[in-house]
Symmetry: C3
Protein backbone atom coordinates (compact mmCIF):
# COMPACT_ATOMS: atom_id res chain seq x y z
CA UNK A 1 0.00 0.00 0.00
CA UNK A 2 1.34 3.40 -1.01
CA UNK A 3 0.87 6.19 1.53
CA UNK A 4 -1.60 8.91 0.66
CA UNK A 5 0.87 11.76 0.49
CA UNK A 6 3.17 9.97 -1.95
CA UNK A 7 0.24 9.00 -4.07
CA UNK A 8 -1.05 12.53 -4.32
CA UNK A 9 2.44 13.76 -5.15
CA UNK A 10 2.63 11.22 -7.97
CA UNK A 11 -0.76 12.40 -9.24
CA UNK A 12 0.61 15.96 -9.08
CA UNK A 13 3.67 14.99 -11.11
CA UNK A 14 1.50 13.52 -13.87
CA UNK A 15 -0.80 16.54 -13.82
CA UNK A 16 2.17 18.83 -14.11
CA UNK A 17 3.59 16.71 -16.94
CA UNK A 18 0.46 17.22 -19.02
CA UNK A 19 0.00 20.85 -18.04
CA UNK A 20 3.52 21.87 -19.05
CA UNK A 21 3.43 20.14 -22.44
CA UNK A 22 0.01 21.61 -23.17
CA UNK A 23 1.19 25.10 -22.23
CA UNK A 24 4.23 24.59 -24.47
CA UNK A 25 6.48 25.13 -21.46
CA UNK A 26 8.82 22.37 -22.54
CA UNK A 27 11.86 23.86 -20.80
CA UNK A 28 10.02 23.60 -17.47
CA UNK A 29 8.78 20.15 -18.45
CA UNK A 30 12.40 18.97 -18.59
CA UNK A 31 12.70 19.68 -14.86
CA UNK A 32 10.36 16.76 -14.20
CA UNK A 33 13.08 14.29 -15.24
CA UNK A 34 16.21 13.13 -13.44
CA UNK A 35 19.54 13.80 -15.16
CA UNK A 36 19.92 10.18 -16.26
CA UNK A 37 16.26 9.77 -17.18
CA UNK A 38 15.18 7.78 -20.21
CA UNK A 39 12.17 8.72 -22.34
CA UNK A 40 10.83 6.16 -24.76
CA UNK A 41 7.86 5.90 -27.11
CA UNK A 42 7.23 2.27 -28.03
CA UNK A 43 4.18 1.42 -30.15
CA UNK A 44 1.82 -0.94 -28.38
CA UNK A 45 2.14 -3.56 -31.06
CA UNK A 46 5.91 -3.67 -30.60
CA UNK A 47 5.70 -3.62 -26.82
CA UNK A 48 3.31 -6.57 -26.74
CA UNK A 49 5.56 -8.58 -29.03
CA UNK A 50 8.59 -7.66 -26.96
CA UNK A 51 10.09 -5.88 -29.92
CA UNK A 52 11.53 -2.91 -28.14
CA UNK A 53 11.87 -0.90 -31.30
CA UNK A 54 10.86 2.58 -30.22
CA UNK A 55 9.54 5.51 -32.24
CA UNK A 56 11.75 7.59 -30.07
CA UNK A 57 14.40 6.91 -27.48
CA UNK A 58 16.15 9.46 -25.33
CA UNK A 59 18.64 7.90 -22.93
CA UNK A 60 19.40 10.97 -20.83
CA UNK A 61 17.94 14.33 -19.95
CA UNK A 62 20.62 15.92 -22.11
CA UNK A 63 19.17 14.16 -25.13
CA UNK A 64 15.69 15.37 -24.14
CA UNK A 65 17.05 18.90 -23.91
CA UNK A 66 18.45 18.57 -27.42
CA UNK A 67 15.12 17.37 -28.62
CA UNK A 68 13.27 20.30 -27.11
CA UNK A 69 15.78 22.64 -28.70
CA UNK A 70 15.22 21.14 -32.12
CA UNK A 71 11.45 21.30 -31.65
CA UNK A 72 11.84 24.99 -30.92
CA UNK A 73 13.58 25.46 -34.25
CA UNK A 74 11.49 23.10 -36.35
CA UNK A 75 8.00 23.67 -35.15
CA UNK A 76 7.33 27.07 -36.55
CA UNK A 77 5.24 25.64 -39.36
CA UNK A 78 3.32 23.07 -37.36
CA UNK A 79 1.17 25.14 -35.10
CA UNK A 80 -1.23 23.32 -32.84
CA UNK A 81 -2.43 23.17 -29.26
CA UNK A 82 -2.04 19.95 -27.26
CA UNK A 83 -4.37 18.85 -24.51
CA UNK A 84 -3.65 15.86 -22.27
CA UNK A 85 -6.23 13.88 -20.36
CA UNK A 86 -4.54 11.45 -17.99
CA UNK A 87 -6.46 9.07 -15.75
CA UNK A 88 -6.53 5.64 -14.18
CA UNK A 89 -3.40 6.03 -12.08
CA UNK A 90 -1.93 2.81 -10.70
CA UNK A 91 1.04 2.89 -8.32
CA UNK A 92 3.25 0.07 -7.10
CA UNK A 93 6.50 -0.11 -5.20
CA UNK A 94 9.54 -0.89 -7.35
CA UNK A 95 13.13 -1.56 -6.33
CA UNK A 96 15.27 0.97 -4.48
CA UNK A 97 12.35 3.03 -3.24
CA UNK A 98 11.16 3.82 -6.76
CA UNK A 99 7.54 3.69 -7.88
CA UNK A 100 6.12 1.93 -10.90
CA UNK A 101 3.28 4.12 -12.14
CA UNK A 102 0.76 3.38 -14.86
CA UNK A 103 -1.89 5.66 -16.35
CA UNK A 104 -4.00 5.94 -19.47
CA UNK A 105 -3.73 9.06 -21.60
CA UNK A 106 -5.50 10.76 -24.46
CA UNK A 107 -3.89 13.67 -26.27
CA UNK A 108 -6.06 15.98 -28.35
CA UNK A 109 -4.69 18.44 -30.84
CA UNK A 110 -6.35 21.62 -32.02
CA UNK A 111 -5.34 23.35 -35.23
CA UNK A 112 -5.00 27.03 -35.82
CA UNK A 113 -8.50 26.96 -37.29
CA UNK A 114 -9.91 25.63 -34.02
CA UNK A 115 -10.50 22.04 -35.13
CA UNK A 116 -9.86 19.45 -32.42
CA UNK A 117 -9.04 15.82 -33.07
CA UNK A 118 -7.66 12.81 -31.26
CA UNK A 119 -3.90 12.80 -31.69
CA UNK A 120 -2.93 9.78 -29.63
CA UNK A 121 -4.30 7.50 -26.95
CA UNK A 122 -2.31 4.97 -24.99
CA UNK A 123 -0.65 4.19 -21.70
CA UNK A 124 2.19 5.52 -19.61
CA UNK A 125 4.39 3.06 -17.75
CA UNK A 126 6.73 5.16 -15.66
CA UNK A 127 9.45 4.72 -13.11
CA UNK A 128 9.36 7.57 -10.63
CA UNK A 129 11.97 8.29 -7.97
CA UNK A 130 12.45 10.80 -5.20
CA UNK A 131 15.36 13.24 -5.41
CA UNK A 132 15.83 15.91 -2.76
CA UNK A 133 12.19 15.66 -1.78
CA UNK A 134 10.84 15.94 -5.33
CA UNK A 135 9.31 13.11 -7.32
CA UNK A 136 10.79 12.88 -10.81
CA UNK A 137 10.61 10.61 -13.85
CA UNK A 138 13.54 8.22 -14.06
CA UNK A 139 12.00 6.38 -16.99
CA UNK A 140 9.03 7.52 -19.00
CA UNK A 141 7.64 4.85 -21.30
CA UNK A 142 4.82 5.95 -23.61
CA UNK A 143 2.92 3.12 -25.28
CA UNK A 144 0.57 4.58 -27.91
CA UNK A 145 -2.34 2.58 -29.28
CA UNK A 146 -2.61 5.11 -32.06
CA UNK A 147 -0.23 4.66 -34.97
CA UNK A 148 0.42 8.31 -35.71
CA UNK A 149 4.10 7.99 -36.47
CA UNK A 150 4.62 10.90 -38.80
CA UNK A 151 3.20 13.54 -36.51
CA UNK A 152 4.88 12.06 -33.47
CA UNK A 153 7.96 14.05 -34.22
CA UNK A 154 6.11 17.26 -33.60
CA UNK A 155 5.28 16.95 -29.93
CA UNK A 156 6.10 14.93 -26.82
CA UNK A 157 3.33 12.61 -25.72
CA UNK B 1 -17.69 11.76 4.27
CA UNK B 2 -15.74 8.79 2.95
CA UNK B 3 -12.34 8.17 4.53
CA UNK B 4 -9.31 8.80 2.37
CA UNK B 5 -8.04 5.25 2.26
CA UNK B 6 -11.36 3.83 1.08
CA UNK B 7 -11.65 6.52 -1.50
CA UNK B 8 -8.23 5.82 -2.93
CA UNK B 9 -8.99 2.09 -2.98
CA UNK B 10 -12.16 2.80 -4.96
CA UNK B 11 -10.15 4.92 -7.38
CA UNK B 12 -7.72 2.00 -7.67
CA UNK B 13 -10.54 -0.41 -8.44
CA UNK B 14 -11.78 1.77 -11.29
CA UNK B 15 -8.25 2.24 -12.62
CA UNK B 16 -7.71 -1.48 -12.55
CA UNK B 17 -11.06 -2.04 -14.27
CA UNK B 18 -10.00 0.07 -17.24
CA UNK B 19 -6.44 -1.20 -17.29
CA UNK B 20 -7.44 -4.86 -17.45
CA UNK B 21 -10.02 -4.41 -20.21
CA UNK B 22 -7.57 -2.32 -22.23
CA UNK B 23 -4.84 -4.94 -21.82
CA UNK B 24 -7.34 -7.59 -22.91
CA UNK B 25 -6.82 -9.37 -19.58
CA UNK B 26 -10.50 -10.16 -19.26
CA UNK B 27 -9.95 -13.24 -17.10
CA UNK B 28 -8.24 -11.06 -14.48
CA UNK B 29 -10.92 -8.42 -14.96
CA UNK B 30 -13.50 -10.95 -13.78
CA UNK B 31 -11.77 -11.02 -10.38
CA UNK B 32 -12.98 -7.48 -9.78
CA UNK B 33 -16.57 -8.72 -9.39
CA UNK B 34 -18.27 -10.55 -6.53
CA UNK B 35 -19.73 -13.98 -7.32
CA UNK B 36 -23.29 -12.67 -7.38
CA UNK B 37 -22.37 -9.46 -9.21
CA UNK B 38 -24.62 -7.97 -11.86
CA UNK B 39 -23.28 -6.18 -14.93
CA UNK B 40 -25.66 -4.09 -16.99
CA UNK B 41 -25.42 -1.78 -19.95
CA UNK B 42 -28.49 0.45 -20.16
CA UNK B 43 -28.61 3.19 -22.82
CA UNK B 44 -28.98 6.63 -21.30
CA UNK B 45 -32.20 7.29 -23.10
CA UNK B 46 -33.78 4.19 -21.55
CA UNK B 47 -32.36 4.88 -18.12
CA UNK B 48 -33.75 8.40 -18.05
CA UNK B 49 -37.18 7.17 -19.06
CA UNK B 50 -37.02 4.41 -16.46
CA UNK B 51 -37.18 1.81 -19.20
CA UNK B 52 -34.69 -0.64 -17.79
CA UNK B 53 -34.25 -2.40 -21.10
CA UNK B 54 -30.53 -3.11 -21.20
CA UNK B 55 -28.22 -3.73 -24.13
CA UNK B 56 -26.67 -6.35 -21.97
CA UNK B 57 -27.50 -7.92 -18.64
CA UNK B 58 -25.38 -10.40 -16.74
CA UNK B 59 -26.94 -11.39 -13.43
CA UNK B 60 -23.95 -13.26 -11.96
CA UNK B 61 -20.23 -13.57 -12.33
CA UNK B 62 -20.79 -16.97 -13.93
CA UNK B 63 -22.67 -15.27 -16.75
CA UNK B 64 -19.83 -12.76 -17.14
CA UNK B 65 -17.38 -15.65 -17.33
CA UNK B 66 -19.47 -17.19 -20.12
CA UNK B 67 -19.44 -13.91 -21.91
CA UNK B 68 -15.68 -13.57 -21.73
CA UNK B 69 -15.35 -17.13 -23.01
CA UNK B 70 -17.53 -16.39 -26.00
CA UNK B 71 -15.61 -13.18 -26.70
CA UNK B 72 -12.45 -15.26 -26.76
CA UNK B 73 -13.94 -17.47 -29.44
CA UNK B 74 -15.74 -14.81 -31.48
CA UNK B 75 -13.34 -11.95 -31.50
CA UNK B 76 -10.68 -13.26 -33.79
CA UNK B 77 -11.92 -11.14 -36.67
CA UNK B 78 -12.60 -7.96 -34.78
CA UNK B 79 -9.18 -6.80 -33.78
CA UNK B 80 -8.92 -3.50 -31.96
CA UNK B 81 -7.29 -1.88 -28.95
CA UNK B 82 -9.47 -0.34 -26.24
CA UNK B 83 -8.45 2.61 -24.12
CA UNK B 84 -10.49 3.80 -21.13
CA UNK B 85 -10.38 7.27 -19.65
CA UNK B 86 -12.33 7.37 -16.39
CA UNK B 87 -12.72 10.53 -14.31
CA UNK B 88 -15.01 12.52 -12.08
CA UNK B 89 -15.32 9.96 -9.32
CA UNK B 90 -18.16 10.50 -6.86
CA UNK B 91 -18.53 8.24 -3.82
CA UNK B 92 -21.43 7.93 -1.37
CA UNK B 93 -22.32 5.51 1.36
CA UNK B 94 -25.00 3.00 0.45
CA UNK B 95 -26.76 0.40 2.59
CA UNK B 96 -24.93 -2.42 4.35
CA UNK B 97 -21.53 -0.78 4.17
CA UNK B 98 -21.57 -0.65 0.37
CA UNK B 99 -20.52 2.36 -1.70
CA UNK B 100 -22.41 4.02 -4.50
CA UNK B 101 -19.80 5.17 -6.99
CA UNK B 102 -20.27 7.31 -10.07
CA UNK B 103 -17.73 8.23 -12.74
CA UNK B 104 -17.65 9.47 -16.32
CA UNK B 105 -15.91 7.37 -18.94
CA UNK B 106 -14.70 7.61 -22.51
CA UNK B 107 -13.58 4.52 -24.39
CA UNK B 108 -11.45 4.93 -27.49
CA UNK B 109 -10.82 2.18 -29.99
CA UNK B 110 -7.87 1.84 -32.29
CA UNK B 111 -7.95 -0.35 -35.38
CA UNK B 112 -5.21 -2.56 -36.69
CA UNK B 113 -4.28 0.28 -39.05
CA UNK B 114 -3.66 2.60 -36.11
CA UNK B 115 -6.79 4.74 -36.47
CA UNK B 116 -8.29 5.86 -33.17
CA UNK B 117 -11.92 6.88 -32.71
CA UNK B 118 -14.40 7.47 -29.92
CA UNK B 119 -16.18 4.21 -29.24
CA UNK B 120 -18.41 5.16 -26.33
CA UNK B 121 -18.80 7.86 -23.72
CA UNK B 122 -21.10 7.71 -20.73
CA UNK B 123 -21.33 7.14 -17.01
CA UNK B 124 -20.72 4.34 -14.55
CA UNK B 125 -23.08 3.96 -11.62
CA UNK B 126 -21.61 1.20 -9.50
CA UNK B 127 -22.28 -0.55 -6.24
CA UNK B 128 -19.00 -1.52 -4.63
CA UNK B 129 -18.60 -3.75 -1.57
CA UNK B 130 -15.75 -5.00 0.57
CA UNK B 131 -15.05 -8.72 0.65
CA UNK B 132 -12.10 -10.08 2.64
CA UNK B 133 -10.41 -6.70 2.53
CA UNK B 134 -10.82 -6.19 -1.23
CA UNK B 135 -13.22 -3.77 -2.85
CA UNK B 136 -15.25 -5.42 -5.61
CA UNK B 137 -18.11 -4.58 -7.95
CA UNK B 138 -21.43 -5.92 -6.75
CA UNK B 139 -23.33 -4.10 -9.48
CA UNK B 140 -21.79 -2.42 -12.47
CA UNK B 141 -24.21 -0.22 -14.39
CA UNK B 142 -22.86 1.30 -17.61
CA UNK B 143 -24.99 4.11 -19.05
CA UNK B 144 -23.66 5.01 -22.50
CA UNK B 145 -24.56 8.30 -24.17
CA UNK B 146 -23.27 6.88 -27.42
CA UNK B 147 -25.67 4.64 -29.32
CA UNK B 148 -23.14 2.16 -30.65
CA UNK B 149 -25.23 -0.95 -30.23
CA UNK B 150 -23.82 -3.17 -32.91
CA UNK B 151 -20.23 -2.94 -31.83
CA UNK B 152 -21.13 -3.21 -28.16
CA UNK B 153 -21.02 -6.93 -28.42
CA UNK B 154 -17.34 -6.87 -29.13
CA UNK B 155 -16.01 -5.46 -25.87
CA UNK B 156 -17.01 -4.72 -22.28
CA UNK B 157 -17.39 -1.04 -21.53
CA UNK C 1 1.22 21.63 0.40
CA UNK C 2 -2.55 21.29 0.42
CA UNK C 3 -3.99 18.92 3.02
CA UNK C 4 -5.51 15.71 1.75
CA UNK C 5 -9.07 16.38 2.84
CA UNK C 6 -9.23 19.76 1.11
CA UNK C 7 -7.75 18.29 -2.00
CA UNK C 8 -10.29 15.52 -2.18
CA UNK C 9 -13.09 18.01 -1.58
CA UNK C 10 -11.81 20.08 -4.49
CA UNK C 11 -11.73 16.96 -6.66
CA UNK C 12 -15.32 16.30 -5.54
CA UNK C 13 -16.39 19.80 -6.52
CA UNK C 14 -15.00 19.37 -10.03
CA UNK C 15 -16.58 15.92 -10.35
CA UNK C 16 -19.89 17.33 -9.27
CA UNK C 17 -19.51 20.22 -11.72
CA UNK C 18 -19.22 17.84 -14.65
CA UNK C 19 -21.84 15.43 -13.37
CA UNK C 20 -24.51 18.09 -12.95
CA UNK C 21 -23.99 19.66 -16.37
CA UNK C 22 -23.98 16.24 -18.01
CA UNK C 23 -27.19 15.25 -16.24
CA UNK C 24 -28.70 18.56 -17.38
CA UNK C 25 -29.28 19.49 -13.72
CA UNK C 26 -28.23 23.08 -14.31
CA UNK C 27 -30.31 24.46 -11.44
CA UNK C 28 -28.33 22.30 -9.02
CA UNK C 29 -25.13 23.18 -10.84
CA UNK C 30 -25.72 26.83 -9.91
CA UNK C 31 -25.38 25.87 -6.24
CA UNK C 32 -21.68 25.22 -6.84
CA UNK C 33 -21.04 28.96 -7.24
CA UNK C 34 -20.86 31.74 -4.65
CA UNK C 35 -23.37 34.60 -5.01
CA UNK C 36 -20.77 36.97 -6.41
CA UNK C 37 -19.10 34.32 -8.59
CA UNK C 38 -17.81 35.11 -12.04
CA UNK C 39 -17.93 32.62 -14.92
CA UNK C 40 -15.88 33.33 -18.00
CA UNK C 41 -15.07 31.54 -21.23
CA UNK C 42 -11.96 33.03 -22.83
CA UNK C 43 -10.55 31.39 -25.97
CA UNK C 44 -7.00 30.21 -25.47
CA UNK C 45 -5.68 32.39 -28.22
CA UNK C 46 -7.07 35.49 -26.53
CA UNK C 47 -5.92 34.42 -23.09
CA UNK C 48 -2.37 33.87 -24.24
CA UNK C 49 -2.27 37.27 -25.90
CA UNK C 50 -3.76 38.88 -22.81
CA UNK C 51 -6.79 39.92 -24.79
CA UNK C 52 -9.41 39.22 -22.20
CA UNK C 53 -12.20 39.25 -24.73
CA UNK C 54 -14.42 36.42 -23.57
CA UNK C 55 -16.94 34.33 -25.47
CA UNK C 56 -19.04 34.62 -22.40
CA UNK C 57 -18.85 36.58 -19.20
CA UNK C 58 -21.17 36.28 -16.23
CA UNK C 59 -20.20 38.59 -13.38
CA UNK C 60 -22.55 37.20 -10.72
CA UNK C 61 -24.53 34.10 -9.92
CA UNK C 62 -27.67 36.05 -10.78
CA UNK C 63 -26.42 36.40 -14.33
CA UNK C 64 -25.66 32.66 -14.43
CA UNK C 65 -29.20 31.99 -13.25
CA UNK C 66 -30.57 34.15 -16.07
CA UNK C 67 -28.44 32.24 -18.51
CA UNK C 68 -29.70 28.89 -17.32
CA UNK C 69 -33.25 30.17 -17.60
CA UNK C 70 -32.72 31.25 -21.18
CA UNK C 71 -31.09 27.92 -22.01
CA UNK C 72 -34.21 26.24 -20.68
CA UNK C 73 -36.33 28.23 -23.08
CA UNK C 74 -34.03 28.15 -26.10
CA UNK C 75 -32.67 24.67 -26.10
CA UNK C 76 -35.71 22.72 -27.14
CA UNK C 77 -34.41 22.29 -30.66
CA UNK C 78 -30.80 21.53 -29.86
CA UNK C 79 -30.96 18.19 -28.18
CA UNK C 80 -27.71 16.57 -27.17
CA UNK C 81 -26.03 14.83 -24.28
CA UNK C 82 -22.87 16.30 -22.75
CA UNK C 83 -20.13 14.26 -21.16
CA UNK C 84 -17.22 15.83 -19.26
CA UNK C 85 -13.87 14.22 -18.67
CA UNK C 86 -11.83 16.30 -16.22
CA UNK C 87 -8.32 15.36 -15.13
CA UNK C 88 -4.91 16.64 -14.19
CA UNK C 89 -5.97 18.58 -11.12
CA UNK C 90 -3.45 21.09 -9.80
CA UNK C 91 -4.11 22.98 -6.55
CA UNK C 92 -2.30 25.96 -5.06
CA UNK C 93 -2.99 28.33 -2.20
CA UNK C 94 -4.25 31.75 -3.28
CA UNK C 95 -4.94 34.85 -1.18
CA UNK C 96 -7.47 34.95 1.64
CA UNK C 97 -7.63 31.19 2.06
CA UNK C 98 -8.80 30.62 -1.50
CA UNK C 99 -7.46 27.91 -3.81
CA UNK C 100 -6.22 28.31 -7.34
CA UNK C 101 -7.23 25.13 -9.16
CA UNK C 102 -6.30 24.02 -12.66
CA UNK C 103 -7.55 21.02 -14.60
CA UNK C 104 -7.78 19.83 -18.19
CA UNK C 105 -11.18 19.01 -19.63
CA UNK C 106 -12.70 17.32 -22.65
CA UNK C 107 -16.42 17.65 -23.36
CA UNK C 108 -18.05 15.17 -25.71
CA UNK C 109 -21.49 15.66 -27.22
CA UNK C 110 -23.82 12.96 -28.41
CA UNK C 111 -26.67 13.67 -30.78
CA UNK C 112 -30.15 12.26 -30.70
CA UNK C 113 -28.99 9.70 -33.28
CA UNK C 114 -26.30 8.44 -30.90
CA UNK C 115 -23.29 9.99 -32.65
CA UNK C 116 -20.58 11.19 -30.28
CA UNK C 117 -18.02 13.85 -31.15
CA UNK C 118 -15.50 16.09 -29.41
CA UNK C 119 -17.24 19.33 -28.53
CA UNK C 120 -14.48 21.17 -26.70
CA UNK C 121 -11.16 20.54 -25.02
CA UNK C 122 -9.28 23.02 -22.88
CA UNK C 123 -8.37 24.03 -19.37
CA UNK C 124 -10.13 25.25 -16.26
CA UNK C 125 -8.43 27.89 -14.12
CA UNK C 126 -10.63 28.31 -11.09
CA UNK C 127 -10.68 30.23 -7.86
CA UNK C 128 -12.35 28.14 -5.19
CA UNK C 129 -13.33 29.34 -1.72
CA UNK C 130 -14.88 27.84 1.39
CA UNK C 131 -18.26 29.11 2.53
CA UNK C 132 -19.98 27.57 5.55
CA UNK C 133 -17.92 24.41 5.16
CA UNK C 134 -18.61 23.97 1.43
CA UNK C 135 -16.12 24.57 -1.33
CA UNK C 136 -17.57 26.72 -4.10
CA UNK C 137 -16.42 28.42 -7.30
CA UNK C 138 -15.70 32.10 -6.84
CA UNK C 139 -14.32 32.42 -10.34
CA UNK C 140 -14.59 29.84 -13.07
CA UNK C 141 -12.39 30.53 -16.06
CA UNK C 142 -12.79 28.16 -19.01
CA UNK C 143 -10.03 28.37 -21.61
CA UNK C 144 -11.03 26.29 -24.65
CA UNK C 145 -8.48 25.18 -27.22
CA UNK C 146 -11.33 24.32 -29.53
CA UNK C 147 -12.80 27.20 -31.49
CA UNK C 148 -16.42 26.10 -31.43
CA UNK C 149 -17.97 29.50 -30.92
CA UNK C 150 -21.35 29.00 -32.51
CA UNK C 151 -22.32 25.97 -30.50
CA UNK C 152 -20.90 27.40 -27.31
CA UNK C 153 -24.15 29.17 -26.67
CA UNK C 154 -25.92 25.88 -26.24
CA UNK C 155 -24.22 24.52 -23.15
CA UNK C 156 -21.93 25.50 -20.28
CA UNK C 157 -18.44 24.07 -20.52
Amino acid sequence: MIDTETRLKIADLLSRYGELIDADRLEDWLDLFTDEATYRIVPRENEEQDLPLPYMYCDSKKMLVDRVNSLRRANVYNFHYDRHLISGLTVEHADDGAYLVGANYAVFQTTHEGETSIFSVGRYEDLIVEEDGDLLFKDKLVVPDTGSVPRLLSTPL
